[in-house]
Amino acid sequence: MIKRILVLLLLAGTLSASEVLQVASLNPIATDLARQIGGDAVVVIELMKPGQDPHVYAPSPSDLKAAEDAVLILAMGKGLETYLDGLRETLPQGQAIVEIGKMIPSLRIDAEKALFACCPTHSHGAADPHWWHSVRNMKRAAKLLADAFAKAQPAQADAFRKRAKDYESRLDSLDAWAKQEIGRIPLTHRHLTTAHAAFNYFCEDFRFKPVPILGLSTLDQPRPGQMRMVMDTLRQENVEVVFPENGANPGVLETVAKEAGIRVGGVLLAGSPLPEAPTFEAMFRHNVETLVAALAPSGEGK
């Protein structure tokens, strides 16, 4: 009898171990998404930490060593991780990259439609990689990741899909809250002036006009002659506030604000949530609250 119980316990232990899916994550938002969808059935090896800049991060050899047991490597995709093709070639058999954002429809940087302060032709036609700044996109990502996990771990497929549905419900509530908050900002005040073009998906969802000064990437630097164009555009658009982003050099933005006589608003979280609140929901709430505080008429916001 005791032997039978011991065998059963051993089997249970073995089954539990094999049901846990190991994944590695190249982005803290992907880490959060994986934890939300995976629950206890997924162990996430966090390679890029919150607060790091996704435009400059690349996995080191020790990062890859830490991920050697991962079945899936999660990336945001859409060209954000410029090293992915090279990484793919080095992966051992049985390990695959999941580009979460690949099947989410992109915004194309359109020189005619987007209000670019400078050099629109340099960005014309490029896919905007910052897809996560849209609740709608994150809901889609939850489904896509649940499918990827289900394919890798079929025994837990139902559980992954149920967690994805629960997460989508929470995102629906987040979206409703955001709409209500942003509704306090008049349309005429909805200019989102930042150093780089990270918020186009957010702008489309909430009817903001994006005014990115530097372009798509934190690696873009201002060229001579651009500052004049920036000033002209800010005046034409009656921009009142500029918003620095975490991880980006605030110097250019502060110079612009001083020259143009406009306010500097709170810091927006562009590429990564804060280490102390490393979830997409916390990041999104922070950004909405920051915008409302700066742009809602006095008495409506802070």
């Binding site: 429809p105 005619e112 036609g125 490029a126 489309e204």
Partner: protein
């Protein structure tokens, strides 16, 4: 260029957009398409349905398009193109194919065009010769919409509700239909070209005359960067040359797949099917699939069919086509197309070799 800028400035001041005169930009474009070929038909022009179709086996200039696009500030754009043509008439022929101004970025997603416009009817009518994937026009387009397609001197209003996954649109337009001048055929020997004259009698019977209105509703579904579906329904209403009412209805479906999504390059597929019918009269359709292998090669197949009407027999055309861009860009393109034409009583075989040269682009549409 200074005179052009001043003229544009005056025009925009007239439109109450003086502040925008500061940022006007004019972009020229030039496109050439010409073809040589061989055909079992005695006269290649007898098989043509479009004004830009090649009509001489020893060489036609299907179109030398001289165009310019205007972008002036946030709200004002414009486009004009003058097209020269040399074909069976053995005379150079020219016309303003389009010349319009448009107001864009208006509230509610509205855009207004005024001037001479290619009607936004169906999938292909608003595409100029240099944008075609085949040497010639689909049978049904030439026979039901007109040899130049449907071109109006008037205007149209377009409403778009755009979303990154789903876009809805509606267009309504009205104006005087541009009728193609058949004067080039007057000098031909009637005895040798009786069939040809009869062909044109059929065209005249089906042709528009006077004012016409048109409309289109469409939806574009883009579930991801790799696949896109466009479905539309169009109608055009006016009179024909016998003062009888004339209506043409159409439905179109286009599917596009791109291996690299929004990134340039890579294999791609574009498949379009369009059905049109003149009410209580002829109907026809075409379906064409173009496969892009890489920046250098496209291959495709178009099938087209058209009901008979009056003395015109039903027609069927099959056209395999291959396009080579030796430079890997649109600057130079060479196209080879075979047409199998089933005219009912007989079948004709034609091969066209086309040369296309393009400079400029990003045209306002």
């Amino acid at each position: 260029m200074g005179k052009v800028r001043r003229a544009v400035g005056v025009l925009m001041l007239g439109c109450g957009l003086g502040a925008e005169a500061e940022v006007a930009e004019i972009s020229p474009s030039v496109h050439f398409n010409g073809a040589v070929g061989c055909s079992t038909a005695e006269h290649a022009q007898d098989l043509a349905v479009g004004h830009h179709d090649p009509t001489r086996t020893d060489g036609s200039v299907q179109g030398l398009e001289l165009g310019a696009s205007l972008r002036a500030g946030t709200y004002l754009q414009g486009f004009s193109t003058y097209t020269l043509h040399y074909g069976a008439s053995e005379e150079w022929d020219g016309e303003w194919e389009e010349a319009f101004l448009k107001l864009v970025s208006l509230p509610g997603g509205v855009e207004i065009r005024g001037g001479r416009v290619l009607a936004r009817f169906g999938a292909l009518n608003a595409t100029h010769l240099h944008g075609w994937d085949t040497v010639d026009m689909p049978l049904v387009s030439g026979l039901l919409l007109g040899e130049d397609g449907l071109i109006l001197d008037g205007g149209d209003v377009t409403w778009l509700r755009k979303d990154r996954q789903l876009t809805f649109g509606a267009v309504a337009g009205y104006g005087r239909v541009l009728a193609h001048d058949h004067g080039g055929h007057e000098d031909e020997d009637a005895a040798d070209h009786d069939d040809h004259a009869d062909e044109h009698a059929d065209h005249a019977h089906l042709g528009w005359d006077g004012d016409a209105g048109y409309g289109r509703i469409f939806a574009i579904c883009r579930p991801n960067d790799f696949n896109q579906w466009t479905v539309g329904s169009s109608g055009a209403f006016g009179d024909n040359e016998a003062d009888n009412s004339r209506s043409v209805l159409g439905v179109d479906l286009t599917y596009q797949w791109r291996a690299h999504g929004l990134e340039a390059g890579g294999p791609a597929l574009r498949w379009t099917t369009e059905v049109m019918s003149a009410l209580d009269a002829a109907a026809g359709l075409y379906s064409q699939a173009i496969w892009t292998w890489n920046n250098y090669w496209d291959t495709g197949l178009r099938l087209g069919a058209m009901d008979g009407e009056g003395e015109r027999e039903p027609r069927f055309r099959a056209s395999p086509v291959a396009t080579w861009r030796p430079l890997g860009n649109p600057l130079v393109a060479m196209r080879l197309q075979y047409n199998y034409d089933d005219l009912g009583a007989e079948a004709e075989h034609t091969v066209w070799a086309q040369l296309g040269l393009s400079w400029g682009g990003g045209e306002v549409r």
